[in-house]
């Protein structure tokens, strides 16, 4: 699952002409550390939902990679 999230985030970063990251940390902030915009976060949400059937933003804002992992492990 962690590798899949890394792949999705890098595909979005590459599309935004940002350098891919080699690894993710649970404390990484999606906006500040990974430089994702609100549109990027929307795409991240639909890609994760398409893969796992879980809408990570359904019950409020998600800020960090750790929070995404928690949502998917619930």
């Amino acid at each position: 699952m962690e590798q899949t999230i890394l792949t999705i985030i890098n595909s979005i970063r590459i599309a935004q002409e940002l350098t891919p990251v080699t690894e993710l940390h649970t404390t990484d902030n999606l906006r500040e550390d990974l430089e994702l915009t609100s549109f990027d976060l929307a795409e991240l949400t639909v890609r994760i939902e398409d893969k796992y059937g879980i809408d990570i933003f359904e019950d409020g804002l998600v800020n960090t990679i750790g929070e995404i992992y928690n949502k998917l492990q619930q």
């Binding site: 549109f39 929307a42 795409e43 949400t45 639909v46 890609r47 939902e49 398409d50």
Partner: protein
């Protein structure tokens, strides 16, 4: 193109369906009922006309009812036509809150929840899609008894304008077609005298052509309209 169309089985929705099928598109149509005229169209285009009976008054379950199995992420949605609507004809002093909420479920809440899921599909597939809402001339020219209905269509027009602004950078367009009065079931409760009065307010002095409305929707969905977004296109015989 794959087009998701609500209210596909009657009136202007049926005509939109027919025009898009004639142009070679695939339709994912939803409506409450399936009258014979729509069944005939299904028999004519069995490969490209998909239908599901859905009651859009259940606005909370739009995702489950439409996007889970019927028009899922496996279908790349190129266009969405929000046509389904219910009328509520009464003077304001008689407004009933339950009837008002029921109308807003179909005319406003379901279309907003459907747009959410359509945009998500377009994001997933990186589709430069087109959204078309069907409004009503009653938003722009007042009619006695239509204040509640017009308010719901006015909400849609504002929603479309802001959809266009919010998603334009991704190439997604949103427009509204504003038809004048058409001879459909929606206006069937009007008397001949009321109809004559309404048509007298138009430049062309007659009912709006359902075909012209459908052709305009098809145009807005197409690449021919790729510089048109955030607009209300009046197809109303010049209602003044």
């Amino acid at each position: 193109m794959n087009i998701l169309l609500t209210g596909c089985s009657r009136g202007v929705g049926l005509e939109i369906c027919r025009v898009l099928l004639e142009q070679g598109h695939t339709i994912y149509g939803v409506a409450r009922s399936c009258p014979q005229e729509f069944k005939d169209l299904q028999a004519q285009y069995p490969e490209r006309l998909h239908y599901k009976s859905v009651d859009l008054s259940d606005s909370e379950h739009v995702k489950d009812n439409i996007f889970r199995d019927f028009c899922s992420n496996r279908v790349q949605i190129d266009g969405f036509v929000n046509n389904a609507a219910v009328a509520y004809d009464d003077i304001i002093t008689n407004v009933n809150i339950d009837r008002l909420k029921a109308m807003y479920d179909v005319n406003v809440f379901a279309p907003i929840m459907m747009t959410k899921n359509v945009l998500r599909n377009m994001l997933l597939h990186h589709t430069k899609g087109s959204i078309v809402h069907i409004s009503s001339i009653s938003v722009h020219t007042g009619y006695k008894g239509l204040a509640m209905y017009a308010s719901s269509k006015g909400a849609l027009e504002a929603f479309s304008k802001d959809t266009a602004r919010e998603w334009g950078s991704l190439g997604i367009r949103s427009n509204v077609v504003v038809p004048g009065f058409m001879p459909t079931a929606m206006s069937s409760t009007l008397s001949e005298e009321q109809r004559a009065k309404i048509y007298a307010r138009t430049s062309l002095k007659k009912a709006t052509s359902i075909r012209s409305v459908a052709e305009t929707v098809a145009f807005l969905l197409s690449d021919k309209a790729d510089s048109i977004t955030g607009q209300n296109i009046h197809v109303d015989n010049g209602t003044i």
